[in-house]
Amino acid sequence: MNRVVLVDDHQMFRTGVKAELGPSIEIVGEAGDVDEAVTVIKAAKPDVVLLDVHLPGGGGIEVLRRLHGTVPSRFLALSVSDAAEDVIGVVRGGARGYVTKTISGPELTDAVARVADGDAVFSPRLAGFVLDAFAASDVPAVDPELDQITQRERDVLRLIARGYAYKEIAKELFISVKTVETHVSSVLRKLQLSNRHELSRWAAARRLV
């Protein structure tokens, strides 16, 4: 049973999500803006927070900033937005994944479980953004461990972008689902920590950071 707090400024959307989430999820709190979210999350200490990217009072990124290190909860970003800077911004702010609001109930339930287990959740769109950001180039990496993604990680991201589920990726690459998860988590870590020149330039071009 995963305890979840729902943060979104649209009451209608919260109601919809609550109705769609499976029985393995217990909603322990809801919030409609940044201040409320910080209070509710601090009080409820949920396993997972479903966090809207666009929120009154500074957006999801502000919630992440103010809660940084104070609660054990993990965050999954949820958005209708297509803008790369919003998505990468919230992931670099500490969210463990990003899904669009068009996601189906069962898929969202699955994503929540994955995030609760400490794994990362990449939608095809996020995978596309990351491939774009880490696109191969001649620029030498400052920190090779953080500033480049491996060929295997690239393969996994490509399959996610192609619409493959983790299980399908595992089958395609002859590896276990666990290994797929490890690769994705590793990419998430790099995305959050890398100061790669290209990444910052890419982000700057999209008015990020």
Binding site: A83, P124, A161, R162
Partner: protein, 381 residues
């Protein structure tokens, strides 16, 4: 416009009336600089006190309750007060010769602090116009000083002259202190008005756009409420248009590969009412081979939309230095390649044939119940 804040007396972190805090916020400098300026001006003939009073009276209070209630730090206030008193005691005691130096000290300290706070780019911005104009400025300054000096030298002897210069400086500063808030406010009002005009223009443009597209679609959706397929098609199509309008830079579909394949996906979505999730990485100019690739991908999307029976269709396109790949995938019922009648043009001609004619290749991976994935590859010269 978040850049320049309106001049208001600050509610948070104030020591006295929030004048320095407000000015600091408005000018975008550290509050310390403003406070030191006030202290130094107070020593030089008490101008700082007068200016502070004027600001206190003339500048409106920030219309926001203070966020922190413990706001005032008495220790800091005491430090500023002590500094003022001590420094003025020094200058009083030292007599008029040193007093004449004070404006330079004030100016020097101010400039030093500002300089130290500014980043490289800002310094460049300050210095460049100065370099271009320094001759003229220097000339003007010399004229002014020369004029005053000449006037005074004629009328008075040395000791008195110094006093007159000092007095007129004080008067000038006083006048500007009195007038500045008024001028600043006038300027702010003008600025606010201009911003308001820009904003209302933006609002009008937004309203026009929403009227033309969104309201139109909503009407259509109401009319077609009984037909869920049509409603979904309308909603998807409107969503796509709005997204493009909001987030994507204007790109000509005739010019770049990414724009072209996105457009193709949009058309298929509209025609067949099936959601297509498209991800494009990288971009390049469109040539004949890539146009053919887009056409083939479009055909694959149409097939997936028509025959798979399952939404969504995933499209992934990647532009790499040596090749362009497109994957069109559905999780639908799939088919056995051998069962496709040889007269059916779709897969063989429109996709595989078209790619091969243009120096590329296409492979179809499918099996009954396994979904279908079409992989297109176009080598780049």
């Amino acid at each position: 416009m978040a850049g320049v804040r309106r001049l208001e007396r600050g509610a948070d972190g104030r020591l006295l009336a929030g004048v320095a805090r407000g000015l600091a916020g408005h000018l975008g400098v550290d509050v310390l600089v403003v406070r030191l300026a006030f202290v130094l001006a107070s020593i030089a003939g008490g101008l700082g006190v007068a200016a502070y009073g004027a600001f206190w009276v003339l500048v409106p209070r920030e219309e926001r309750p203070p966020a922190r209630l413990d706001a005032r730090e008495w220790g800091q206030l005491a430090a500023y007060a002590a500094m003022t008193v001590l420094l003025s005691a020094v200058s009083w005691g030292a007599g008029i010769v040193q007093a004449a130096l004070w404006p330079f000290i004030v100016g020097g300290v101010g400039v030093a602090i500002l300089w130290q706070q500014a980043d490289r780019e800002q310094r460049q911005r300050w210095v460049l116009p100065l370099r271009q104009m320094w001759l003229r400025s220097l000339f003007g300054l010399l004229l002014v000083i020369g004029g005053i000096a000449g006037f005074i030298a004629r009328q008075l002897d040395g000791g008195e002259a110094r006093f007159v210069v000092l007095a007129s400086l004080i008067i000038l500063t006083g006048v500007s202190v009195i007038l500045t808030p008024w001028v600043v406010r006038l300027w702010q009002d003008l600025d606010a008005e201009r911003q308001e005009r820009v904003r209302s223009q933006e609002r009008a443009e937004l309203a026009a756009h929403i009227h033309d597209s969104v309201l139109h679609t909503l009407t259509l959706i109401q009319r077609n409420a009984a037909d869920p397929r049509e409603v979904q098609r309308l909603a998807r199509s409107q969503e796509r248009t709005l997204r493009t309008w909001l987030y994507q830079p204007r790109a000509d579909p005739d010019l770049t590969f990414a724009a072209a394949i996105r457009e193709a996906a949009g058309e298929v979505e509209d025609l067949h009412g099936v959601a297509i999730e498209i991800v494009v990485v990288g971009d390049t100019a469109l040539d004949d081979a890539l146009s053919a690739t887009v056409q083939a991908a479009r055909e694959a999307m149409v097939n997936a939309a028509k025959y798979s029976g399952v939404a969504p269709v995933s499209v992934y396109a990647e532009v790499e230095p040596d090749a362009v790949h497109v994957f069109v995938r559905d999780r639908g019922k799939g088919f056995a390649m051998d069962d496709v009648p040889s007269d059916r043009m779709g897969v063989r001609q429109s996709i595989i044939g078209r790619m091969e004619r243009n120096g590329g290749s296409a492979t179809v991976r499918t099996a009954p119940g396994e979904g279908t994935e079409v992989r297109l590859e176009s080598r780049r010269a």
